[in-house]
């Protein structure tokens, strides 16, 4: 019997191989990330505005945030401090003699920056280092039901989103909290999306992905995804697009994670891991570092041309997200320029937090997130020798200042003890305001009235770091 069946077995085996010619062949595909953004789903129309609103839509019925966008908005923010009298608010909103200075817009900008940096319950508490000490100014939130991301907790909750493909239970509370924030809301034109992607593509940092397996690259239930930092700058083509098929080294550092994955019809889906480390979004060197996702995972769809698009997701410590956003430069500068208020963003994250429950404080320290990426095909290779992420020594002072203000902020919101601004930052428009108001007739009023950080060395102007133009 057995001998008689041999030809049949051989024939069946041959048929099986013919139907799956790539079976058992090791394969690997590499990608360099070309765009990296919060996975916020835009619901407006760029051409549509209503009075006082910017691009209202199904995501944000009253449009994007308008904090500090005009005199009324700034007046509203300053009126929350009961220790600030109406005359002071009036002078800040409309600085006397502004029409006599060479650069009135810039002069007012730095006065507003300084003023909104002090909105605590009493004089002298710097707001961005101590956001808990200010009243909640309010933030528009996403109200639509459709959102990108993952079902991170395996449940379908009342505030979860439905994915564009119809999957229920999508956890992306950061989208609800920040999705109407002006610099992150747009249809490919959000200002900080553009800025961050531009800086990444210009060489600030490089994120790469390698997918490998032993079966068919389009269908492999035992694949591996590696994501990490590359010391090799992104290569762009003559049209300024990220060029395909260049080689990048992947570093197995603090920003590296290896995940098991499954590939089905070209869609790569990783396992969910307790910690997923990747480079984080940044547009200045001081912000760069580990994204540190909890319960993180990745989904990538590989296109026929070898490019890929997809999502990274997981819970992130919302205090980290706050710090990374607020102190790219300084909170007031970014807030006034981008029409966002980090105090409002702080409270929005705190109340929408939905993960990493801390029994000691009875609070959620994590917020569910998703990040959208597009990637170009690349050769991802291991370095000849193990190496760490290079340090940009020219920016070391700013990096140190960023880490110092991060530590001060985490300490303040953890201990509820207001912290001073550490030296070395440009927080509260120091020394920018002093520099910009020299020809303002009412400059003495602002120098005398407005709070500012004071440093141990008593210097009026900070270290050379702050004098540097950004």
């Amino acid at each position: 019997m057995r001998l008689q069946n041999i030809p049949l077995i051989v024939a069946l085996a041959g048929l099986a191989c013919a139907g799956n010619p790539a079976a058992a062949a090791p394969w690997s595909r590499g990608f360099v990330v070309a765009t990296y953004e919060y996975a916020f789903r835009y619901g407006g129309r760029a051409s549509f505005t209503r009075a006082g609103e910017i691009e209202p839509g199904v995501d944000c019925p009253h449009g994007s945030s308008t904090h500090f966008a005009n005199e009324n908005q700034t007046r509203k923010a300053l009126a929350l401090q009961k220790w600030r009298g109406p005359e002071e608010v009036n002078r800040i909103v409309q600085p006397p003699g502004l029409d006599q200075v060479r650069a009135p817009v810039l002069t007012r900008f730095f006065i507003w920056n300084r003023a909104v940096s002090y909105r605590g319950y009493r004089h002298g508490i710097e707001t961005y280092v101590n956001p808990f000490a200010a009243d909640d100014p309010g933030e528009p939130e996403v109200v639509s039901r459709i959102g990108d991301g993952f079902n991170l907790d395996g449940k379908v909750g009342p505030r979860d989103f439905v994915s564009p493909d119809g999957e229920k239970g999508i956890d992306n509370a950061l989208y609800r909290a920040w999705g109407c924030d002006a610099p992150w809301r747009g249809n490919g034109n959000a200002t900080l999306d553009l800025r961050a992607n531009d800086k990444m593509q210009e060489g600030l940092y490089t994120m790469i992905i390698r997918v490998s397996g032993n079966k068919d690259p389009m269908n492999d239930d035992d694949a591996v995804v590696e994501i990490g930092y590359s010391p090799d700058k992104i290569v762009k083509d003559a049209r300024s697009n990220v060029a395909p098929d260049y080689s990048y080294r992947i570093l197995k550092t603090a920003e590296y994670t290896r995940l098991k994955a499954r590939v089905r019809n070209g869609v790569v889906e990783t396992e969910q891991v307790s910690e997923m480390h990747t480079p984080r979004i940044a547009w200045f060197y001081d912000q760069t570092g580990d994204a540190d996702f909890h319960q993180g995972k990745i989904r990538l769809k590989i296109a026929a041309d070898g490019s890929a698009s997809g999502l990274l997701g997981g819970y992130r410590d919302w205090r980290d997200l706050y710090v990374e956003e607020a102190f790219a430069q300084d909170g007031g500068q970014q807030g006034v320029r981008e029409h966002e208020d980090h105090v409002a963003l702080y409270y929005a994250m705190k109340r929408n937090a939905d993960g990493m429950y801390d029994p000691a404080t009875h609070q959620y320290l994590g917020i569910s997130t998703a990040f959208r990426i597009t990637a170009m095909p690349a050769y991802v290779v291991d370095p000849d020798k193990p190496m760490d992420i290079p340090i940009l020594t020219a920016e070391a002072d700013r990096k140190a200042a960023f880490e110092a203000i991060r530590a001060a902020t985490i300490k303040s919101v953890t201990t509820l003890t207001p912290q001073d601004v550490p030296p070395g930052t440009s927080e509260a428009a120091v020394p920018s305001m002093e520099r910009e108001i020299t020809d303002l007739p009412s400059k003495d009023y602002f120098l005398k009235t407005l709070d500012r950080p004071h440093y141990p060395d008593k210097t009026a102007l900070n270290s050379p770091v702050q004098a540097r133009s950004r």
């Binding site: 000490a133 939130e141 409270y347 109340r351 404080t361």
Partner: protein, 202 residues
Amino acid sequence: MNLSRLHAGRGILLALGIGFAGASGAAAAPGDGDAASRTAMVPAAGPGVYAEASLGANRYRLTVRGHKFTTRDDVEKYLAWRSADLTLAKDDRWFRFTETRHKGDTAPVAKRDPAGPRFSFRMNYFRPVWRYKLKGDKDWKSWSPFSGTPFFADGKDAATITDFEASADIRLHKDQVDDADPLAFEAGAVSDLLINQVSPPG
């Protein structure tokens, strides 16, 4: 273990004879040291200063009394902090302030605005009702923030106010705060904001 909170609860219990339902549960919460240290940041209330009474499931009336009036803001902030602290002690997440309105009140009713900005709290909408006695008064008089009349202490010498009492009715909630409701207060955020600002009245 939340020794400080437990201690404060016992003090109130002894002084007022009012139950502190759930405090033992909160006190036994694992790793509650941070909450204890936070509560310890606010001086303990003297006898008779603070009281809380259950009004039914998850509903409480909190009352703060004193004899040395400072400012309306001082007293109302302390009451708001006690509301937040009670919410956290019960392991709840937010509370809703219940307005005590009467016929003839003129203050506009705060409306929810699902399309508008969302808030963790809006302190302007924490509006307790007051009772007070001026020097020589035998009976309590009342003042409501919804009446449209000026605050009873406005323009008065604080020394003439011999007794005052502010009270707030709240309902505790466990789920995510209803941030479109102007009367919703996320306890953690309120507590964080007020903890350095408040002390019990004398």
